[in-house]
C-alpha cells in the first residue's frame, strides 16, 4: 500500500473534523484544483483577531479532504494575522507523508490552505501573496 495512505489520513478522510458551513460567517472562500476537480469551501468566524470557528465542506480525493480536516485543527483559536502567514510546511508536517516528489498530490494537499489564505486575505483586505496567486482567480 502506498505510504501516502497512513492510518491518520484515512481516519481524517473517513471522519472529517469541523465539517460543515457557517452561515452567516465573517470570512468565506472556495477553490478547486483544476487538474482533478477537488473542491474545498471554508467558512470562519472571528472573535477579535482570532478565528473562533471554522468549518469546511468539499469533495475530492482522500489527500485533499484529509488535509482540509487536519487544517481545521491547526486553525481554530489562532490569530488571523498569524494564520495569514501560516507556512505550508506546518500543514505538510501534520500530514506527515512525503509529497515533494509528487507535485500533483502536493496541490491536493495544499488546496485547503490556499482557500484558507484567500478567505483570510479577503476578509482583511490584504493582497494574496504571490505563492498563492493561482487561487485568486478562482
Amino acid at each position: 500500500m502506498s505510504d501516502l495512505y497512513r492510518e491518520l489520513i484515512l481516519d481524517h478522510y473517513k471522519n472529517p473534523r469541523n465539517h460543515g458551513e457557517l452561515d452567516p460567517c465573517d470570512a468565506h472562500a472556495q477553490g478547486q484544483n483544476p487538474l482533478c476537480g477537488d473542491d474545498i469551501a471554508i467558512s470562519m468566524n472571528f472573535s477579535g483577531d482570532d478565528v473562533s470557528e471554522v468549518r469546511f465542506t468539499g469533495r475530492g480525493c482522500a489527500i485533499s479532504q484529509a488535509a482540509a480536516s487536519m487544517l481545521m485543527e491547526l486553525v481554530e483559536g489562532r490569530s488571523v494575522t498569524e494564520l495569514a502567514e501560516l507556512p505550508k510546511e506546518e500543514l505538510l508536517d501534520e500530514i506527515g507523508v512525503p509529497l515533494e516528489k509528487n507535485p500533483a498530490r502536493l496541490k491536493c494537499a495544499l488546496l485547503s490552505l490556499g482557500v484558507l489564505k484567500l478567505a483570510l486575505h479577503r476578509a482583511k483586505g490584504t493582497p494574496l501573496p504571490e505563492e498563492w496567486a493561482g487561487f485568486e482567480e478562482r
Binding site: M1, S2, D3, C36, G37, I63
Partner: protein
C-alpha cells in the same frame, strides 16, 4: 472475441523488449503501463533513429544548400510522405505538421472557423469530446456569433443521433467536429452517420483521430471527412509533433494561422503573400526531428501491423471488462467491448480515482485518474473523475490481472 481470425497474434514479449522502460523495476516489478491513451512509451527504434538523425543529419530544413541540410530536409519531408501514406491522403501538400493534436484542431478553428462563421451558423461538437475538440469550437462560435451545439449521449456514452434534427433546426450547420474514439470512456463514434448528416447539410467535418490513429488503420479518402487531426506522442513518436490533414481545396482557400518565416511567399513593408501548401501553415522552424521521429513510429506501427494491434487491444479490453465485471465495487463506464477502443474507465465505490491511481502506482500499475480533459462527458455521467486503464501493443493480460489485484488492495485500504 473467440471468432476465428486470420490475423496472427502479436509477439508481445518481443515488442516489449523494444521499450527500454520495461527493463526498469518498479518496487521489484515490471511496470504495468496502462496509460497509453494519455501518452505512449517509445521504442528503441524511434529513440535510436532520433539520436542518429541529430548526430548526422541535423540542420534547418528547406533553406539549406549543403549536405547536412539536404539530409535533414529529406528526413523531414520523408516523414511527411510516410504520414500521407499512413492516412491514405492524396498529396503531401495536405499533411501539415503541428506541435500536437490540440494545435491541429486550433488551426482549423482559427484559420477556418474565425473567418467563415457568423450569426445563423451552427458549429457542432459532442458531449464526449476531449476539451481540445470542444473548447476551440465553443470559442469560435462565441467570437463569431454562431451557435454552439453539442450532441448528447446515452447512459452508455454512445452519441444520441436523435438529437441531430433538433440541432439542424437551430440554424445552418457549418461545421461538425467529433472524435473517432472517446479518450475518456473508449466508445467508438458512429462516423458514417455523422459524416452523412454533416454532408447533407453541406457542413465541413473535423475528425479528432488522436485516439484512433495509434490503434487502427485510417483512410481519409474512405472516411470522407474534410479535416483530421492526430498527435504523435500517443503513437510511439516523440512529444512535440501533431498532424493536421485537410482537403487541399479547403486548405488552399484558408487564411494562414501562425505567421512568420517559411510560410510566406514574399514580404514587403506594404504587403505579404503566403507560400503554397503545406508551408503556408508551418510558420517558423518546424519540429524537424519530431516529425522524423513520427515517421519512424509509423514505420514501427506498420511493421507490427495496425490490424494486429487492434485485435490485441480488443482482446485485452474484453478480458479487462470481464475481470472488472467480477470485481467488487467497480463500475465500468461506456459501451461493451465490441464498440470501444482499448480504453476502460471505471469508478470504485469507496475511493476517489486519484486515491485509486495512487495506490495502484505503489503496485507498479500506472493508470490515469481525473476528468481526462472531458469535463462535459464527466458531467454527463454525473461524476467528476474516473480511473482509466488503456492498452497498447506492449500490454498483456498479466497487466490486467495486476490491475484487478491492486484494486482489491485499494478497497481493503478504504474499507
Amino acid at each position: 472475441m473467440s471468432s476465428i481470425t486470420s490475423i496472427s497474434a502479436l509477439d508481445v514479449p518481443r515488442i516489449k523488449s523494444d521499450f527500454p522502460v520495461f527493463e526498469e523495476r518498479f518496487d521489484g516489478r515490471e511496470l504495468a503501463y496502462l496509460d497509453s491513451a494519455n501518452s505512449s512509451q517509445k521504442p528503441r527504434q524511434v529513440l535510436e533513429g532520433l539520436t542518429e538523425f541529430y548526430e548526422h543529419s541535423y540542420a534547418n530544413v528547406h533553406r539549406a544548400v549543403y549536405e547536412l541540410g539536404e539530409r535533414a530536409t529529406a528526413g523531414y519531408e520523408g516523414a511527411r510522405e510516410k504520414t500521407r501514406a499512413f492516412l491514405g491522403a492524396d498529396s503531401t501538400r495536405e499533411i501539415i505538421f503541428t506541435r500536437n493534436g490540440t494545435e491541429a484542431l486550433n488551426l482549423v478553428a482559427h484559420a477556418w472557423g474565425l473567418n467563415e462563421l457568423g450569426p445563423g451558423d451552427v458549429v457542432v461538437s459532442t458531449v464526449l469530446e476531449h476539451h481540445s475538440n470542444f473548447v476551440p469550437w465553443q470559442y469560435v462560435a462565441e467570437r463569431t456569433g454562431a451557435e454552439f451545439a453539442v450532441i448528447g449521449a446515452d447512459g452508455n456514452g454512445e452519441l444520441d443521433l436523435e438529437q441531430l434534427d433538433a440541432i439542424a433546426g437551430r440554424g445552418r450547420v457549418r461545421l461538425v467536429a467529433f472524435g473517432l474514439i472517446s479518450n475518456s470512456i473508449g466508445s467508438v463514434n458512429p462516423v458514417e452517420a455523422l459524416i452523412g448528416w454533416a454532408r447533407e447539410h453541406g457542413a465541413v467535418t473535423v475528425v479528432d483521430a488522436c485516439q484512433a490513429a495509434p490503434h487502427r488503420t485510417l483512410d481519409v479518402a474512405s472516411l470522407g471527412v474534410d479535416f483530421l487531426a492526430l498527435t504523435g506522442h500517443k503513437m510511439l513518436a516523440p512529444s512535440g509533433i501533431g498532424v493536421l490533414w485537410g482537403r487541399q481545396a479547403l486548405l488552399n482557400s484558408m487564411e494562414p494561422f501562425n505567421l512568420g518565416g517559411e510560410m510566406i511567399r514574399s514580404v514587403t513593408i506594404e504587403e505579404t503573400t503566403w507560400n503554397e501548401l503545406p508551408n503556408k501553415f508551418e510558420a517558423g522552424t518546424p519540429p524537424i526531428a519530431q516529425a522524423y521521429g513520427l515517421g519512424l513510429a509509423i514505420d514501427y506501427l506498420t511493421r507490427v501491423g495496425l490490424e494486429r494491434i487492434e485485435a490485441h487491444e480488443h482482446d485485452l479490453t474484453t478480458y479487462a471488462m470481464e475481470r472488472l465485471a467480477g470485481a467488487d465495487g467497480v463500475s465500468v463506464l461506456g459501451p461493451p467491448a465490441e464498440r470501444r477502443g482499448g480504453i476502460v474507465s471505471f469508478t470504485l465505490d469507496s475511493a476517489h480515482p486519484h486515491d485509486v491511481a495512487q495506490i495502484l502506482d505503489s503496485h507498479g500499475v500506472a493508470v490515469r485518474a481525473g476528468h481526462h480533459c472531458t469535463q462535459p462527458a464527466m458531467d454527463h455521467f454525473g461524476i467528476s473523475a474516473t480511473t482509466r486503464a488503456s492498452f497498447y501493443l506492449y500490454n498483456t493480460r498479466t497487466d490486467v490481472d495486476r490491475l484487478v489485484e491492486a484494486l482489491a488492495d485499494v478497497r481493503a485500504t478504504f474499507a
